[in-house]
Amino acid sequence: MTPQSKSPGQSIASRTYGPVNAEKMKTVAVILEDGNPIHWDLDAVKAHGLGDRVINQGPINLAYLIDAVVHSLGDPGAIRSVSARFTGVVREGDLVACAGQLVLDDATRRCYQMEARTESGPAVVGQVCAEPASDRE
């Protein structure tokens, strides 16, 4: 994983996550101590009129988006800021494509405008700023 060259407007390498696995949502429900049953109980999903597949936790969708930047930079400790809006849902079986563009590159940081989306539309949009180790040297 080699950091990309720095040119504002340059696209970040797109990464796709999934198909989203309902079993993984159960693990995150425990880690997050999230008792919302729409993440594991299909009856609850239907009762809320949310379709017929369980729904990924928002923080998982955000994790995909951040990881796309981490993977592109090749540096897990580079992330310095994240500002994200959750704009849609991701369901069991979905593929989540994460892509974005470099929007700011100054002496200390690179900022990327990112989007994580499914076939249904965007699920998370936001800006991720990073300071890769290669820039700190």
Binding site: G18, T27, V28, I31, G35, P59, P76, I79
Partner: protein, 163 residues
């Protein structure tokens, strides 16, 4: 945790409500499990040779798990925040917005001081979900009183009974 301790509590009462606070270290097995659950190879954050080449002395905690750790370290569960707002997990809360600011990475097995509070409550109406409360909380991790991570998250609490 579904106890609703005050049906008379107003939204304004929640602003400034501090969480108990405390300390937390995020363990390697938690980081591994979280990475696996979010479809990321745990080696991305934990491979010793990669970490060494980048100058990190310990495995890096996934940023989203760092947020979860800050909340847990602050001594509060999501369900308890919902209960403060007279809401229940089963009513379908949603994440609206989230921010994280890192001064440096959060590392496995390092003990951080944690704190947090509710910083904003707004009552809004959305086209899709109708009336809802937007509850924003902040949490942080510090090391020797130096702030390392500051997070905010806005929970959307649909008021289905009000529709």
């Amino acid at each position: 945790m579904t106890h609703r301790d005050s049906d008379t509590r107003t939204s304004a009462d929640l602003v400034g409500h501090s969480f108990p606070g405390g300390a937390i270290a995020i363990h390697g097995w938690e980081n591994w499990l979280f990475c696996d659950a979010v479809l990321v190879d745990p080696a991305t954050y934990r491979d010793p040779s990669m970490l060494s080449s980048l100058g990190y002395e310990r495995p890096v905690v996934h940023p989203v798990l760092a947020f979860i750790g800050a909340l847990r370290g602050a001594g509060v569960k999501q369900a308890e925040i919902l209960a403060l707002a007279n809401f229940d997990d089963s009513e379908g809360p949603l994440f609206g917005e989230q921010t994280m600011m890192f001064e440096e990475p959060i590392f496995e097995e390092v003990r951080y001081e944690a704190a947090g509070s509710i910083v904003k409550v707004e009552q809004k109406t959305g086209k899709a979900i109708g009336p809802f409360d937007a509850v924003t909380f902040e949490c942080s991790l510090s090391l020797s009183s130096r702030r390392i991570l500051t997070c905010t998250a806005m929970l959307i609490l649909p008021r289905r009974s009000a529709r």
